[in-house]
Symmetry: C2
């Protein structure tokens, strides 16, 4: 497949083919079948129905072209014919194909005239590329110019360079968590056992937050789910999970250390920190999307550091209130 | 689409359709086209070529059926015709479609006789489902019986129940990190500033590890990349990233606290902990796959806790050696 030079990456323009079968609504079905023979189509799985001006009016899946006994195309065509422009983002094209059960997505110009179609092979590549990109972005790995598949066996220096930026940003952001620790030096001095639970608290907050991020990113890529409803659910689930894990960890700390106040402080920090992490993990990807940025970026260092800092601040506040 | 009751979830059996066009190698192309008319195929995008016993011999994409001027099917068929059995895992089917550029994947029985095909619509659903499942599994969310799409608006109790198990396991595993902290109580007592960098170290180890997990999971789902080569690369990249971040964090700690030994200890812990996290994050999903388990599970609590415990152990060992 050759790609025109002027296409933007990840757009319909880059994935479309131009040689597709077309017909008018009043063309006899037998004529359409007869004219298919001898033509070198790039994608013959769907016949695109246009008016005299070339504007898309409907589509006929090749299965239906053969199967249905009908005189004219208009009788068998699917008049629901959403289409994309050649500037459409590839993710939108794949969502349209899946939601409308199309195996080739028509591409039209600004006035609705058919200019080509994104064939099923390209839709496979798009779906796979979106999958690989999400895995990378959630892990904070920058995109490779030649696409996510190329990235795997790229030169080491290139792979290093695409992974470093988020980590350096994360290192800077982690100063915030260190400052939280410094601020509670007194509590740590008074009882060094308070420090024992710091990594576990950070770890649990991160794990709860990662689940919320995943639900958020999935919700954003599934257009027919209400974000508000998901958010309400996330608050309830975050509190429920926080409560369960809080009780378990308080019991565990008490069993190991026989210190009721310390156990209570850890339990409350897990409960509140878990609920905060769930809400932050859910809300940040959504906020990034609203700001026109990539929602998966909301799972990066910013999100994790906010979760960590919130959990530790809650923990130290409770420790200070209960134990000092 | 109706699904037979006896199909295993996520297998070709569940996704295949049976009414597909077939032809013999010596059938005239014109006859094949003529007989397509009037038949209600589930998937007419590809003609499957079989011998007299029904065994698959090749495939002809519908584009080629119309385009190529040939007398008989054998002249235009693609004799490279990898197929799957009806027990094949859906991920394998999608990989085959993409790697061989097939838009419908033939399904054969144990002796190679054609029994149906997985159509492009099903391949779209499979690719999307695998994407959503990876997002969930990497975040430690259990699968929903009705598939990943159904999971988003499932009842709250169900969503809670699918998220809790990994977190409880994680809470248990986090005992290991707490024990590391307890073991180094003396170092913490001697200088409480040692505790300040614990959450940042855990955070950086986790971030480096998450990138390595993502590279590993992607490598495992792309069959034509050598895992050994990726592993060698991961060691080099892990050391390179660890070195860069180690120098940066040592400089940062020195700038903030004017304590050369503490800065050195943090720097060495970031370097070594980062390298260990990269290797563990890369190797665990691969090990899970070798053990017949889901590679994405290797990113769960086990992996993170090993990374955290390793980073902190290195840190405290260096602190003990340099400062006590």
């Amino acid at each position: 497949m050759t790609t025109p030079d002027f296409c933007l990456t990840d757009t319909a323009c880059r994935h479309m083919v131009r040689a597709v079968p077309t017909a008018r609504p009043d063309t006899p079905v037998a004529d359409v079948i007869a004219t298919l023979r001898g033509q070198a189509f790039d994608c013959a799985d769907t016949v695109f129905v246009t008016d005299a001006g070339g504007r898309l009016e409907g589509i006929v899946r090749i299965n239906d072209l053969f199967a249905r006994h009908a005189d004219r195309i208009v009788e068998i065509m699917e008049p629901e014919h959403e289409a994309v422009t050649d500037q459409a983002d590839q993710e939108e094209i794949a969502q349209l194909a899946i939601s409308l059960n199309m195996i080739a997505v028509p591409v039209v110009d600004d006035v609705g005239r058919l200019i080509g179609a994104v064939p099923p092979e390209a839709l496979f590549r798009i779906l796979r590329a979106e999958h690989m990109e999400d895995l990378q972005r959630l892990a904070g790995i920058g995109p490779h110019a030649a696409g996510p598949e190329a990235a795997l066996d790229a030169p080491l220096r290139d792979r290093y360079a695409r992974r470093l930026p988020w980590l350096v940003l994360g290192l800077l952001a982690s100063t915030l968590v260190t400052l939280v620790m410094v601020r509670f030096e007194e509590a740590l001095q008074a009882n060094v056992a308070v420090a024992f639970f710091v990594p576990a608290l950070v770890y649990i907050a991160g794990a709860i937050g990662a689940q919320a991020v995943s639900v958020s990113v999935r919700g954003l890529s599934t257009q027919d789910v209400s974000i508000a409803a998901l958010m309400r659910g996330e608050v309830v689930i975050g509190l429920g999970i926080g409560l369960t894990l809080g009780v378990l960890s308080a019991a565990g700390v008490f069993a190991m250390f026989r210190d009721g106040m310390l156990a209570l402080a850890v339990g409350i920090a897990v409960l509140a920190g878990g609920a905060v992490s769930a809400v932050v993990g859910f809300a940040l990807p959504w906020a990034f999307k609203r700001l026109g940025s990539d929602p998966a970026m909301g799972s990066g260092p910013v999100c994790t550091v906010i979760q960590d800092a919130a959990s530790l601040s809650i923990y130290f506040a409770v420790v200070t209130a209960l134990m000092l």
